[in-house]
Symmetry: C2
Subunit: 418 residues, 2 copies
């Protein structure tokens, strides 16, 4: 995989140029074109920009993948749907402008599932082409895993950042709600939709997020002490697959060996209640956000999406309001959860990537998304089929830096020889 932080340092030291980085990506893409990482690839554009972009700070000219529900004025933005074939928005999304201001070089638009919902994408899992890379940020996760991209933007409404990262064996973060601005990103459920970033390691993700957001999020080269981890199996989401449980146990053992404090935590009843309401907000707001497509282009939508939109349309307004109320009550008790611990440790996804007929199950991500909490996938474990299985570090709202530091602590602990 391409390590963003190391590549940026190489550019800073004069050992690499932004133009050479584009060629590294191009070579990997040529080798792994069959993975279908890109909806639109723009190598020539990236080559042209490499010579004139700002490469003395921030992202140092690093190539970047952008999920194809994020608007770009110079490249098509097709939302994974034939309805938007060739769609050229008038403006870049804010996150695109921020990435370019930071010296990022957009290599292309990465494959998204249709409108970031559950219909399986053409993208393959780099670890086994028969298996899904996860969704909905499929191309971004697979592109980083295949070593085509050092960094890639995705979004999460249920589990669309953390789940594909787990399935593809890469690091990724879904930051706190509203940390990254959503202007110009196609909405599905605005109360849930959150931008995130994929990279090879947690340090790479932290580096990229700091450069793009301007917030102090880097965690390389510093010692943040030994965090306290609160382990939860998110029982409200149901029992996990044995491979997910094995990954979690492996993480706990690695943390204990590394001298971390690991305690069991019991989540408040308000959180379980909120977990069960995620689907109400997801489907109700999804039906609202895609109202035009549903009314005017229904024949061009996948059956699984139509079913979701119709379920959303059937939800009584009072149920939606109640779900928002439940989410608010769950947010109000948040601080009590994080009083005894720095972060939570739980499953990222339910085991290894399933076969490509689905994109997998976001059950361990939905609550975290609804609460708006920062979450990081930490790779490092392989399941029975040899596919990656990550674990999830979840922090308190706005505590993104501590969450990244704890995730990096775990990543180092997992990499240590036993």
């Amino acid at each position: 995989m391409m390590r963003a932080l190391d590549l940026a340092e190489a550019v800073e030291n004069g050992d690499l140029t932004p133009a050479a980085l584009v060629e590294l990506c191009a070579e990997a893409q040529a080798e792994f074109a069959h993975l279908n990482v890109f909806a639109t690839l723009d190598l020539d554009g990236a080559r042209a920009r490499a010579s004139r972009l700002r490469a003395d700070c921030g992202l140092f000219g690093l190539p970047l993948g952008v999920k194809d529900i994020i608007d770009t004025a110079d490249l098509p933005t097709e939302h994974g749907s034939p309805i938007y074939k060739g769609n050229r928005p008038k403006a870049d999304a804010t996150i695109v402008v921020m990435s370019e201001e930071a010296g990022g070089n957009i290599l292309g638009k990465t494959v998204t599932t249709e409108f970031a919902y559950l219909n399986p994408p053409p993208t393959l899992n780099p670890h086994d082409a028969a298996h899904t890379p996860g969704g909905s940020s499929s191309g971004s996760a697979a592109g980083v895993a295949a070593g085509i991209l050092p960094l890639a933007l995705g979004t999460q409404t249920g589990g669309s950042v953390i789940r594909p990262a787990s399935f593809c064996g890469v690091a990724a973060m879904k930051p706190s709600y509203r940390l990254l601005p959503m202007t110009g990103v196609k909405p599905f459920a605005p109360l849930l939709d959150t931008l995130g970033l994929f990279g090879a390691r947690v340090v790479d993700v932290a580096f990229g997020l700091e450069a793009i957001s301007g917030r102090p999020l880097r965690i390389d080269g510093q010692d943040f002490g030994t965090p306290t981890f609160g382990v939860t199996r998110l029982e409200c989401a149901g029992e996990a697959d044995p491979e997910a449980e094995a990954a979690l146990r492996s993480a706990v053992r690695a943390l204990e060996r590394a001298g971390a404090h690991v305690v069991d935590v019991t989540l408040p009843a308000e959180w379980a209640e909120a977990h069960h309401r995620h689907i109400v907000i997801n489907n109700y707001e999804g039906a609202q956000s895609l109202a035009y497509e549903y009314w005017h282009r229904r024949a061009d939508l996948s059956p699984i999406l139509v079913k979701c939109l119709e379920a959303g349309r059937a939800i009584p307004i009072d149920d939606y309001d109640d779900a928002r109320g439940a989410a608010n009550r769950a947010r109000r008790v948040m601080h009590s959860v994080f009083k005894p611990v720095d972060v939570l440790l739980t499953y990222s996804a339910n085991g290894e990537a399933p076969l490509r007929e689905t994109t997998g199950d976001p059950r361990y991500n939905k609550l975290v998304t609804l609460l708006g909490l920062p979450a990081v996938n930490v790779p490092g474990y392989s399941g029975a089929k040899g596919l990656p299985v990550g674990v999830q570090i979840v922090g308190n709202f706005g505590d993104d830096h501590r969450t990244l530091a704890a995730a990096a602590f775990l990543e180092r602990a997992l990499a240590r020889p036993t």
Copy 2:
């Protein structure tokens, strides 16, 4: 003015047709074309739709104006900016689909100030062409006031619904935050941006909002008892112009004559604190939302907007985070404010509409927008220059129906002969 509720009843009773309604609007538009209500007028489209739209429920085929920062696939959406001249979005905004599903007939796109900020629009105040209709929903307010439109959609980020309603002498509501979905509406400050509706009277606005949203908001034909009004002068926003104060006193007297309970309330310190942070969130998020336009089309932006965006870019991230924290603290004490009263009564705007070189001052609207509270402008008072001056009814979050009922109570009280 065109009374939406009465017109809908006339259609229901067979005394009017949707086609005849379009002609009523066309006649008024021909008479008042000089007011520049529309960015794009679509009389022929409205005539064609009148014969085939659903006119047996909901909006009963009523013509509707749509502020030109709201996406429409069949009409240009220009955001009041030359950058978007001729812009044709791929999809309708969700609120447009909802309005059409409800049997509304979109007559055209109403003039917005540039990206819904402060640069004065070409629209004139129907009561005096030398004066501003207010902003940023200028065309929607003026169109209803001139009797061209029975209903019109607007948005408020500072005071862009309540202020133009006050200046033009019409009713309008900015509902609770997120009551109406923002998908397809050009963002300025997503934490503040809220859709609203203009109509001749409070009952008309309530009727339109119920039809569009599907929520029980109508207040006609029922007695909701006598509300308790808490009077506040929003001292945190500074002293008001004598005409605003006179309008407020007139409202208090009318309420007392009508037998309402009117008490003085003192707002919590958290609210004053939040008031002063509105500008931080407004400018910081504005700079983010218009990042593309700022970087790629700066020469096409007005000086007043560039100044705002540069102020926003200069705000330290910590100040923005602090402002969000202050808003959250102010929201947490909200229920204590509304414990002794049903609604608050305060200024809508600072006096009569000023001359057209500005769009007026949103000082008495910013806090209410930041808190996400439902607010209604109640017309009925005229100032020294003979221009309308409204007062504002503000309700608790989610208490939109009670807010409308209290506003209607005041409107009836003001209309009663003394």
